[in-house]
Symmetry: C2
Subunit: 301 residues, 2 copies
């Protein structure tokens, strides 16, 4: 998986501080997660091919997470896109987009498919043979979901020496990678595990923004490789967190620790903090593996 941070600040877009948006590349997909104002310019800046984006996930309808969506949809139209575009987000998202298309008398020539999310329980919202995407219900001032991206168990790898020694016909190699036992040239049944090894470990990524501290997400995101968890505040402003339904860096780290994740990415920093290092230091007091999101940074895992 490769994650590119297009924007990671809260509230208002500034010259060098873009609102939330991320691109996750995994198994041939290019998922766009949230889409604050200016996201399309950030996509250009980071040379991300617009046409490869087929799924957009919007966590909630606060402006710093979706004011860039209608512009991006409109730009896709001007670029004469033909590929379907799937949009996952809260109730109302379809109305906002279609009202603006109607007023501009500018309808897309590609198919716009809205997947309106309303459940308060985690649900599977996308699946193909290689990936699953689940919602992570969060606790914010308006209806909000995080998203869990999970690769499926990959194909098994052949242990070539063992396969050849077992005298298996090449025609059966594919069945072996799919995990089946096969019969060799001598009519003997060969156990799959004796001639193959597990494929690459499937990776997973959880995106959680915006939310106040919510312990019951732990069971959903347990053991993910990377967790992005918002940290709008430091503990010095901890009193603001429940009031605005945001989290502190310490709270983000506590969730990361309880969920036993591989790495924690912090983000959605309040623009009141000039130096981001305070977030890392605060989180590292609770959890070992912490990194700071920054606009333009990429993470491969």
């Amino acid at each position: 998986m490769k994650l590119t941070i297009l924007g990671c600040y809260s509230a208002t877009p500034r010259i060098l501080a873009n609102p939330t948006s991320q691109v996750l590349e995994s198994q041939g997909h290019m998922f766009l997660i949230d889409c604050g104002e200016g996201t399309q310019v950030q996509l250009r800046k980071h040379k991300i091919k617009f046409n490869r984006i087929k799924h957009i996930f919007i966590s909630h309808l606060h402006g710093d997470h979706f004011f860039g969506l209608v512009g991006l949809i409109s730009t896709f139209r001007l670029l004469t896109r033909e590929t379907d575009l799937h949009i996952y987000g809260p109730k109302g998202i379809k109305e906002v987009v279609t009202l603006q298309m109607k007023l501009a008398d500018s309808w897309t020539n590609y198919q716009l498919i809205f997947h309106v999310l309303t459940s308060k329980e985690s649900e599977l919202i996308f699946e193909d043979d290689k990936m699953e995407v689940h919602t992570i219900p969060l606790n914010h001032r308006v209806y909000t979901n995080g998203f869990l991206f999970k690769e499926k168990e990959g194909k098994r790898k052949l242990n070539i020496g063992a396969v050849e020694e077992a005298n298996i016909n090449v025609a059966y190699y594919r069945k072996l990678t799919q995990g089946f036992d096969v019969v060799n040239e001598d009519g003997i049944n060969i156990k799959n595990e004796s001639v193959t090894k597990p494929g690459d470990k499937p990776k997973s990524y959880a995106f959680c923004s915006d939310t106040m501290y919510k312990e019951d997400i732990v069971s959903i995101i347990e053991n993910v490789d990377v967790l992005y968890h918002e940290s709008t505040f430091l503990e010095t402003q901890a009193h603001l967190a429940p009031k605005t339904k945001h989290s502190t860096a310490k709270e983000a780290a506590t969730i990361a620790k309880k969920a036993n994740v591989g790495k924690l990415l912090l983000g959605h920093y309040s623009t009141r903090y000039k130096d981001l290092n305070g977030f890392k230091i605060e989180a590292e007091e609770v959890f070992d593996s912490v990194e700071l999101s920054e606009d333009g940074k990429t993470f491969e895992f």
Copy 2:
């Protein structure tokens, strides 16, 4: 008057090509004209005080002219604005903004006053003791207005030598600047023109974007100091102009010439043209005084 170009390109925002937005400063006002995506970041870049903007004029509801509006309104809220904000624009503009505020459950703490424009004739939409703003009905794919900003005749200036020689009491000086005749210390009636001279010549600015060639705007914009007229295309692509209801540089210059304006500013260039000089050269074949809008450029007149 001082005009700052925040963005002057058509269609999609790019890294160095912002969609339409301008700030006009005149008589203590700071008028924002159109508001494409990213306008709030452009305002910051050019150090324009957000709080001084009290009137926003939106020509039409195509994205490159108004997708930045809702974000700006929302940022004003986060900056705890208290001053009223007047928004002038086509039918539908109020619905788009209020739907998004409703979905975000984020209402402004300042007064938002919408002035919905529907007339197909030029109308006076703003007036105070120093300024008037009129619409300029344009011909585009959706309902569109340009805007004419006109300073009113300023106060007359005292010819101090003449005033003193005429033996006029200081208490009457204000009446003189207002154009009245007065009676001097000797009881003699003094003609205003004999002791004053005209004030500064009132300035005017006409903004015309987007429109196809429309000759009947000439009578509305006649003799303005500066005319901004869109020039999406060059004559080499003249066949696209009526189809998309845009203008060429030559057409913009023809309007400027017929209206006898002081200076023509070109803008709203299609991003297909890499070099903008072609626009200036083409327009100058028809009209003498031509300048190119460019993001960040200012014009004082």
